[in-house]
Structures are given as structure tokens and as C-alpha cells.
């Protein structure tokens, strides 16, 4: 094995190297899961309680008080389907964005492909997603909704779009966060705004005129598709899903590119 150290890092992703570091990736993710469940008194229950309580609150205000039109879907299950993917997206994005600053002690002392950190720190939220999925299954049984076969098949592409989007944004924001510490404070606000331009708490049909907003937001394709597919209500908007997929790939590549371009100075300024 030969290591060559040169001033400017060539702009490329060394897949062989990433493969060599797979155990580190696993242990970084494993650490976050372990620590998370050790630090909290009720551990796993958090993954359930968070979206569940949010669903209850939203049901009261948007379902009852504002009586948002939901194609006849009971508001709780309508909201939860959206929240399931939205929470995974927003938590993973936050985790990835803060990962470099949170792990600066390691970055300053040891070499490894830095890209592992933001991605590994999202893995704990995948676990949350899986756990929360069982709650959705329970709600579906309770409200007598069954998914269509297309809906079940589309879970994988929808998850892929979600992962590509938060990974791309997360890599970009994580790198930016190293240089500009304000990112940490701007991020919650940014995510809050994103929530309102994603059809999580209201259906996509509500704002017909301003549809173009959603075209730029891959998460609207995910939420809309999953709601139609998993609850077998309405038709799947293939056009929207396709655009979402395209944009998520673009976002991911941009994030990876920016991260790759800036990672060599992380240790100097983190």
C-alpha cells in the first residue's frame, strides 16, 4: 500500500478507500445509536412519541379547527404518512449538518474520508424511521387503509429520494457549518420553512396556482407519492415523482462536490 500526500487533493471519490473504511462507518453509526438510547430514559419510545404527538397537535389545529380538505382521508393518518418521511428527512439533515462540528475532536486528530461522518450520523434516524413505520402500520389497521402494490414498491425509490436529498443538503451544510458557524442557528429556521413548502400538513391539491414551488422540493414528490400509494387514495403523480428524483440526484451531486472540494481544509479551521 502506498500513500502519496500532495498539496491539492484531486477532485474524485475514492470508492476503494471508502470500502476500506466501511467498519469505521459502521462504528460511527453504531455509536450514535448506542449513545442515543443510553442518554434517554425511554430510548426507543422517542422515535414513536415525537411524530405521534406532532400528529395529535396537527390533527387538532389543521384537522379540526381549520378543517383542511384531505380527500376524505382522516387527518391523523393523513398527517402521519407525511410526518413519517418528513421527520426522517429533517432529523437526518440536522444530524448531517452538525456532524463535522460535533466531531471536530476526531477530525483534528485522525485521517479518514470525511464524507463518512455526515452520512454515518444520519443512520440513527433510519432506525427511528423504521420504528415509526410500525406506528403507521397500526394507524392503517385502525382506520382500515391498505397500501396498493405500486405503493409498496415505491417505498424504496421514495426512501432513495429522501436519502439523496438530505445527504446532498447535509454534506453541503456540514461543510458550510465548518466555515460559518451561523449555519447551526439558521438551519432550524430553514427546515421550518421547508416544512411549509412540503405538503406534509396539507394536501398538494390545496394551492393549485403555486404548484411550481413543489417541483423544486423533492420531498413533496415523496410525501405525495407515499400518501397516494400507501393509503391507496387518488393517483400517483408520476411526473412529480420523476422531477423529484432528478432534483434529488442533482442536490446529492452538488453536495458531494462541494464537500469534496472543501474537505481538505476542515482540520485547519474546524
Amino acid at each position: 500500500m502506498e500513500t502519496i500526500i500532495k498539496p491539492v487533493k484531486p477532485l474524485r471519490i475514492d470508492l476503494q478507500e471508502l470500502w476500506r473504511y466501511r467498519e469505521l462507518f459502521y462504528y460511527l453509526a453504531w455509536r450514535d445509536v448506542k449513545v442515543r438510547y443510553k442518554q434517554t430514559a425511554i430510548g426507543v419510545v422517542w422515535a414513536v412519541i415525537q411524530p405521534f404527538l406532532m400528529m395529535v397537535v396537527l390533527s387538532i389545529f389543521f384537522g379540526r379547527v381549520l378543517a383542511v380538505q384531505t380527500n376524505g382521508i382522516p387527518y391523523p393518518i393523513f398527517a402521519f404518512t407525511g410526518l413519517l418521511f418528513w421527520n426522517y428527512f429533517s432529523n437526518a439533515l440536522t444530524g448531517a449538518s452538525n456532524s463535522l462540528v460535533a466531531n471536530q475532536a476526531i477530525i483534528q486528530k485522525i485521517y479518514f474520508p470525511r464524507v463518512l461522518l455526515p452520512i454515518a450520523s444520519t443512520m440513527v434516524y433510519l432506525l427511528d424511521f423504521v420504528i415509526a413505520s410500525f406506528v403507521l402500520a397500526g394507524l392503517m389497521v385502525y382506520y382500515h387503509y391498505a397500501p396498493s402494490l405500486t405503493g409498496l414498491i415505491l417505498i424504496a425509490p421514495c426512501l432513495l429520494i429522501t436519502c439523496l436529498t438530505f445527504s446532498g443538503l447535509g454534506l453541503w451544510l456540514a461543510a458550510l457549518n465548518v466555515k460559518y458557524r451561523d449555519v447551526r442557528y439558521a438551519l432550524p429556521f430553514f427546515i421550518q420553512v421547508l416544512l411549509f413548502v412540503t405538503p406534509v400538513i396539507y394536501p398538494i391539491t390545496l394551492l393549485n396556482k403555486h404548484r411550481w414551488i413543489w417541483l423544486f422540493n423533492p420531498m413533496s414528490g415523496v410525501v405525495d407519492t407515499m400518501r397516494a400509494g400507501l393509503l391507496s387514495v387518488g393517483t400517483i403523480n408520476w411526473q412529480l415523482l420523476g422531477v423529484s428524483f432528478g432534483i434529488s440526484i442533482a442536490v446529492f451531486l452538488f453536495g458531494l462536490f462541494y464537500f469534496n472540494k472543501t474537505e481538505h481544509y476542515f482540520a485547519d479551521i474546524v
Partner: protein, 420 residues
């Protein structure tokens, strides 16, 4: 031909920005952007000063060689290690290394307080570059060396600092790459554990086959494990060769051991700063070559920028035990009242002739009751105590070479008459 490390003309430039923190705030950058045209009108340039931490470093290391790297603070040792460990990149030059590279710039990198000893061994091991298989194979050895068998499943936040350090070092010591880069990791733990760690390091080097780069302030440790050494000074290699000669050159370098150290009033944000520290001999002349038989003085000139009570702290330590202070003295010891009005002051401490021959380092700082140091500096291996004029009192040398203090005990011997 069997070079495993080839360093060719490595330089590293940092840009020191006097106005800002190393990381930026988006807000400041935006404001800076707006201010730029105004500044330009005023003919005001931003203060950006390039600083070369390393300049044209070239050397080679053969397979199985153990190379020491020494030098004063700021000579570029850490930067060199960081470049060799790929944590940061050089500005110019190239390095080629053959084999698996492992670096230990710190023990316990990535340790998480919530995780148990067992879990941290795996986490830390993988972070350092071991595979799970390797850790499995060495697990018992690691635990035994650290001596923490009973606490393996306790979160390390409940460990004593000694246990924590022992475990961290133990994981690190079982790292077996082809090239090992080590920085100051022996300077942890109590004296006994340090000895054990040094023993382990020697054992590793003697086993052979492994190439090691070793940075330390502990000259005894460098002497013990490195045959060859490099002396860095102001970012360049000043000398390379036999460790004994290199250490001698370093320790007795008069230009490095300037008795007067002046500091630019670093940082306007600080409420107080050190201006100058001077070491004076018995006759009040600046000198760092001092006599074992006579007292010496350390004079600290400092400035208080606002009204508050601050004290000067002096900590003295030896080159051969860098993380253990020989003594600590506060300028308000004995209830002596310190000035608390803004102004510039000069504090002088007299150190009685108690130190044995050898090389000593000092830490001088300004502290308050609540804050450890507002400003401080460490000058390594700067005070040389020599035996030129003879001992201050008639002594028997036997066994005294290894002692830090030269102390004439007050003995009293009386015959014991057996009770009747």
C-alpha cells in the same frame, strides 16, 4: 532503496488573520463585503499575514527506523505530524509512504463518555485504523495492559482520569501499522504509568520492522527510543543525526534560550496580557545559564487593561517530566496584595538555589480567581542550571543526578541507648 517514508520539500502556509477567529461567521463575512468598498476608499488593507509553519522539509526514513522529532514550541513539529497523518495538506512538496500508516496524535480520540470500556475499545480501535478482527484478537491484551478488567462494562464517564488514560493508551499501544506516527502520547497518566508506557514503546521499537516517527518534549523518552532525530527550528530542519547530538544541540542552543522573551500585546479582546518575561541571574543580568549555587529571578511585565484583580502564576517543570510541575507559585501567595488598577506592572520572583543541574521549562500566566489564564506562555527547556562554581553546600553526589531538587537536609543523629 528501502525508504518507507520520503518527504520531499514540504512547506505549509497558514494565513493568520489578525482581525478574526479562525472560523467565520456568515454575518461578519457579509458585513465585511459591504465594508470593503468603504475600506478601499480609506486605503485600508485587511490584515492578512502569510505564515510559513514549515519550509522545505526534506528527509527520508528507512524501514524499521525510529526517528525522533524535537524542537521548541512553534517550530512546526505538530504541523509536520498533521501533514504526515493526512489531517491537513501541505502547501507545496510531496510525501510518499509505503505501507499502512497509523497516527497517534492523542490518546482516546473518539472516546465517548456514555459508552462502556468495552464499547470504547472497539470504537477507538476502529477510529485509529484497526479492523474489528484485529481488535477481537487483541482485546484481552488491551484490557490487561490497562488493568480495567472489573470495569469493562462501566461507562467510561465513571472512570477515574487515571483509568481513562490507561485504557486510551492501551488501545493505542496495540495499534500495529507499518508506519506509526506518535505525538506526545507518553505525557499522560501518572509517573508510574508513564514508565509503563515508555516501556511499551521501547518494546514496540525493539520488536523491529515497524517504522516510527516520534515527537516529544520529553528528551529522556526521545533518547531512549530514537537512534536518529531531527531538530526543527522555525519550520525548517536545523539538524538531523544521532539523537544524542541533536538533543545536545537543541538544549544548549543559546539563540533559542533567549533570556528575554517579548510578546506583542496579543489580542485586544483580552483584559490583560503578558508583555515580557526575563530570566535574571544572581547579579540581575539577563541570562538563561544559571548556577546551581545561586538564586535567580523571573521578571514578568504585564498590562491590565481594566480594573480587576489578577495575579501572576509561575509553574516550573523539568524537561524529563514535562507534565508534572515541580512547583507552582502565585504572586498573591503569602497574602501579598496585587495591583488591580489598569496599568503596566512588573512582577519579580526570586527562586532560591534549590534546583539540581538540568534543563527546566516555565509556564507564566495571568490568572484571576475565576479564570484559569487570561494570557499565558510556555517556554520549554529554557533555563539551564549548571554546576560551574560548585555546589552551594558540600554534597555527596551519589544518587543525586536523578533528583530535581538539591536539598540539604537537616539531619540529626543521636545514639539510641537500649532501655534498661
Amino acid at each position: 532503496m528501502d525508504n518507507v517514508i520520503e518527504v520531499k520539500g514540504i512547506s505549509k502556509q497558514y494565513t493568520i488573520n489578525h482581525e478574526r477567529l479562525p472560523y467565520h461567521s456568515l454575518r461578519d463575512d457579509l458585513i465585511g463585503l459591504l465594508k470593503k468598498p468603504i475600506r478601499w476608499l480609506h486605503g485600508h488593507q485587511e490584515v492578512q499575514e502569510p505564515f510559513w509553519a514549515l519550509k522545505g522539509i526534506t528527509f527520508e526514513v528507512k524501514k524499521g527506523e525510529v526517528l525522533g522529532i524535537i524542537g521548541a514550541n512553534g517550530a512546526g513539529k505538530s504541523t509536520l505530524l498533521k501533514i504526515l497523518s493526512r489531517i491537513t495538506y501541505p502547501t507545496t512538496g510531496e510525501i510518499v509512504m509505503q505501507g499502512r500508516v497509523g497516527s497517534l496524535l492523542e490518546v482516546g480520540t473518539g472516546f465517548h463518555p456514555e459508552l462502556t470500556g468495552r464499547e470504547n475499545i472497539y470504537l477507538n480501535g476502529v477510529i485509529l485504523g484497526m479492523t474489528k478482527k484485529e481488535i477481537d484478537a487483541k482485546f484481552d491484551e488491551i484490557v490487561t495492559f490497562a488493568g480495567i478488567e472489573r470495569f469493562l462494562d462501566t461507562p467510561v464517564k465513571h472512570y477515574s482520569s487515571g483509568m481513562y488514560v490507561r485504557l486510551a493508551f492501551s488501545v493505542a499501544a496495540h495499534l500495529e501499522p507499518d508506519i506509526l506516527i506518535v505525538d506526545e502520547v507518553l505525557a499522560v497518566g501518572d509517573a508510574e504509568f508513564q514508565k509503563k508506557s515508555l516501556g511499551k514503546m521501547e518494546e514496540i521499537t525493539k520488536k523491529g520492522g515497524r517504522t516510527i516517527l516520534f515527537v516529544s518534549h520529553n528528551m529522556d523518552a526521545v533518547q531512549a527510543i530514537c537512534k536518529k532525530s531531527i531538530l526543527l527550528e522555525h519550520g525548517s530542519i536545523k539538524m538531523m543525526g544521532d539523537t544524542k547530538d541533536v538533543i545536545h544541540t537543541y538544549l544548549y542552543d543559546k539563540t533559542r534560550r533567549e533570556p528575554i522573551k517579548t510578546f506583542e500585546g496579543a489580542g485586544d479582546k483580552k483584559q490583560a496580557c503578558l508583555n515580557r518575561i526575563t530570566i535574571l541571574n544572581d547579579e540581575k543580568n539577563p541570562s538563561t545559564d544559571l548556577s546551581i549555587a545561586k538564586p535567580f529571578y523571573i521578571e514578568v511585565e504585564y498590562t491590565l487593561k481594566s480594573a480587576f484583580s489578577a495575579f501572576v502564576v509561575l509553574k516550573l517543570f523539568s524537561t524529563s517530566l514535562p507534565n508534572q510541575y515541580l512547583f507552582v507559585s502565585w504572586s498573591n501567595d503569602n497574602g501579598y496584595a496585587n495591583p488591580s488598577e489598569p496599568g503596566t506592572y512588573r512582577a519579580r520572583i526570586k527562586v532560591d538555589p534549590i534546583l539540581n543541574t538540568g534543563m527546566y521549562s516555565y509556564l507564566v500566566g495571568i490568572a484571576t480567581h475565576t479564570e484559569d489564564y487570561i494570557d499565558y506562555t510556555v517556554q520549554n527547556d529554557i533555563i539551564s542550571i549548571q554546576n560551574v562554581e560548585g555546589f552551594p553546600f558540600p554534597v555527596v553526589m551519589h544518587g543525586r543526578q536523578d533528583s530535581f531538587f538539591l536539598y540539604s537536609g537537616h539531619w540529626n543523629i543521636t545514639p539510641v541507648t537500649p532501655d534498661l
